[in-house]
């Protein structure tokens, strides 16, 4: 059985999910997410050895299409609603620091 959810677990997960939580939210989320995980103990404790997991309800496997050229979205139409675009590309702030 998993250990109860701690405040530092929530802070760590927020970092992974690229969310900033303030002190109040950390407390609130620790309690609320803990409640959901507490409820999930009903399935956590089941012995499901040998049961296969389901990812798609009807067991769909790879879907392929014929390799033919079809029309796709126009680049300008896609970039129009982006926060920032430059030279036909999405523009973002710097990713790595300046060389020393």
């Amino acid at each position: 059985m998993s250990k109860p959810l701690r405040r530092e677990d929530v802070a760590h997960v927020a970092k992974l999910a690229r969310l900033h939580l303030d002190e109040t939210e950390l407390d609130e989320f620790t309690k609320q997410l803990g409640d959901v995980l507490e409820h999930a103990k009903d399935i956590e404790s089941l012995d499901l050895e040998g049961v296969l997991p389901t990812a798609h309800p009807f067991g769909l496997v790879n879907v392929v299409r014929s390799d033919t050229v079809t029309a796709s979205l126009q680049r300008d139409a896609v970039l129009r609603s982006a926060p920032d675009a430059e030279n036909g590309r999405f523009a973002v702030p710097r990713i790595v620091g300046e060389a020393p």
Binding site: S2, L5, D9, V10, V13, A14, L16, A17, R18, L19, H20, L21, E25, F29, Q32, L33, D35, V36, L37, H39, A40, D42, I43, E44, L46, L48, V51, L52, P53, T54, A55, H56, P57, F58, L60, V63, R65, L73, Q74, A77, V78, R80, S81, A82, P83, D84, F90, V92, P93, R94, I95, G97
Partner: protein, 473 residues
């Protein structure tokens, strides 16, 4: 109230779609301030669509099974060049470069899309209180919620602002608001309706479906939007079923099981309506028996691990780079975090957190892996049930429409309002909620009929029996 079938018939016979639309726009203007149903009304686009329908009819051609019928779209369905917000600040200013397949299909059927309806942000919620643009009010009692997450689409039809609407159902988001607003709502078989252009919440559970004031209209709309779409690799390849033709088939000889787990814990008034519905089906010639499917009790826990896990992955794309909002910061990672922190509301953050946790190292097997196995158990349990029964019956929701704020501080209490609808999403099967009788404060009760994959025709015919018995021809 004119039905969609009446409007389509009249319009195809030469009555004006444009006039029908103008009356719709007046109703929206009169009621939307109070009810907050529409996030965006596309008057220009709607007028153009209505005019096209009128021109087709003027040429002597048939404009389709939904000719001139005003329809509302949940605002997580992409509409080309028309704002699509998912009721989130993070999509602020975004206008999709393409339309969802369902939008193209309803236009081809002659329908007139009038605007985008409110929802719980990214379809996460059961009351429409999680919208960044304020809650929608229940037209039957504005002090209560319309349900959710497709609360705006349900309220659009219940208030008669539009004749039809489309929503999406990931854990009950069509059936639950339909029940709370006293209308018909359908969660079709997974893959029956293309999800192309539906902003993804939990891709293995999401399905688009219709709302209507009556069963026949719901069947007409579903028939118009169903069918294989090469742009959605999960869409079923089988030809889409004929539905409208079977609405009046009745239930004679059908085996219907009342499922204990789909009424246990429901309020007394709700249970009473379900029992009356059972007797109605018996009187109409169905064979009724009781059934217990204990695995369904595990659905809620499995769902609240699987859906957030998929959501945490799907919503990673909202990072301030490609759509809508960006909050500037010195580097990309800080910009991503600042944008997501400012753009997402609390419930969305909660679910992303829950999903990220359930998928993280050390917890994956205990939570997500275990939930996927419970999903298998749910599917097997339904399969066994459908060897004995053609249809299952139970409640759609544990209670009638509840008051604003009554569950907002306790996510688990809110999640429990989906306890009867969730199992069908896990199994990928079909279910319908049909209003039948009333409960507390004279508010409508939704009865839920469930069937195996692709059993929609049979669900519609049983729902129609209940509708007639409830005094709605």
């Amino acid at each position: 109230m004119k039905t969609a079938r009446d409007i389509a018939k009249n319009v195809n016979n030469g009555s004006s779609a444009t006039l029908e639309l103008e009356e719709t726009l007046v109703r929206i203007k009169e009621q939307n301030d109070e009810l907050n149903v529409f996030l965006y009304v596309d008057e220009q686009g709607a007028r153009a669509a209505a005019q096209r329908v009128d021109e087709i009819v003027a040429r002597g051609e048939n404009a389709g099974p939904l000719a001139g019928v005003p329809i509302a779209l949940k605002d997580n369905l992409c509409t080309v060049d028309v704002p699509t917000t998912c009721a989130s600040k993070i999509l602020d200013g975004w206008r999709p470069p393409y339309s969802a397949t369902v939008v193209e299909k309803i236009l081809a059927a002659g329908a007139v899309p009038v605007g985008k309806t409110n929802l719980d942000e990214f379809a996460m919620g059961s009351s429409t209180e999680n919208s960044a643009f304020g809650p929608t009010r229940n037209p039957l009692d504005p002090s209560r919620v319309p349900g959710g997450s497709s609360g705006g689409s349900a309220a659009a039809v219940a208030s008669q602002m539009t004749t039809l609407s489309l929503g999406s159902d990931t854990g009950g988001s069509i059936r639950q608001p339909a029940a709370l607003c006293g209308i018909v709502g359908v969660k079709p078989t997974y893959g029956l309706v293309s999800r192309y252009g539906l902003v993804a919440f939990a891709s293995s559970l999401d399905q688009i479906g219709p709302f209507a004031s009556n069963v026949t209209d719901a069947a007409t709309l579903l028939e118009a939007v169903a069918g294989h779409d090469s742009r959605d690799s999960t869409s079923l390849v089988e030809p889409s079923p004929s539905l409208v033709a079977h609405v009046e088939d009745g239930v004679k000889g059908r085996r219907v099981a009342l499922v204990r787990e789909l009424v246990d814990g429901a309020d007394e008034d709700v249970v009473e309506s379900v029992m009356k519905a059972v007797e109605t089906l018996r009187a109409a010639g169905a064979t009724i028996f009781e059934l217990s499917i204990p695995e369904l009790r595990l659905g809620l826990s499995a769902y609240y691990l699987i859906a957030p896990a998929e959501a945490s992955s799907n919503l990673a794309r909202f990072d301030g780079v490609r759509y809508g909002l960006r909050v500037d910061a010195d580097d990309v990672a800080a910009m991503n975090e600042a944008t997501r922190t400012a753009g997402f509301g609390k419930e969305v953050k909660r679910r992303i957190m829950l999903g990220t946790y359930a998928l993280s190292a050390g917890y994956y097997d205990a939570y997500y892996g275990q939930a996927l196995k419970v999903r298998t158990m749910t599917i097997e349990a339904f399969k066994r049930a459908y060897q004995q029964a053609d249809l299952l019956i139970g409640a759609t929701t544990p209670s009638v429409a509840f008051a604003f704020g009554s569950k907002t501080n306790d996510p688990m209490a809110m999640y429990l309002s989906d306890v009867f609808t969730i199992p069908t999403n896990l199994s990928g099967d079909a279910a319908i909620s049909v209003p039948f009788g009333t409960g507390e404060a004279d508010l409508p009760v939704g009865v839920q009929l469930l069937g195996p994959g692709r059993s929609e025709a049979s669900l519609f015919s049983a729902a129609r029996v209940l509708e007639r018995a409830d005094g709605r021809e």
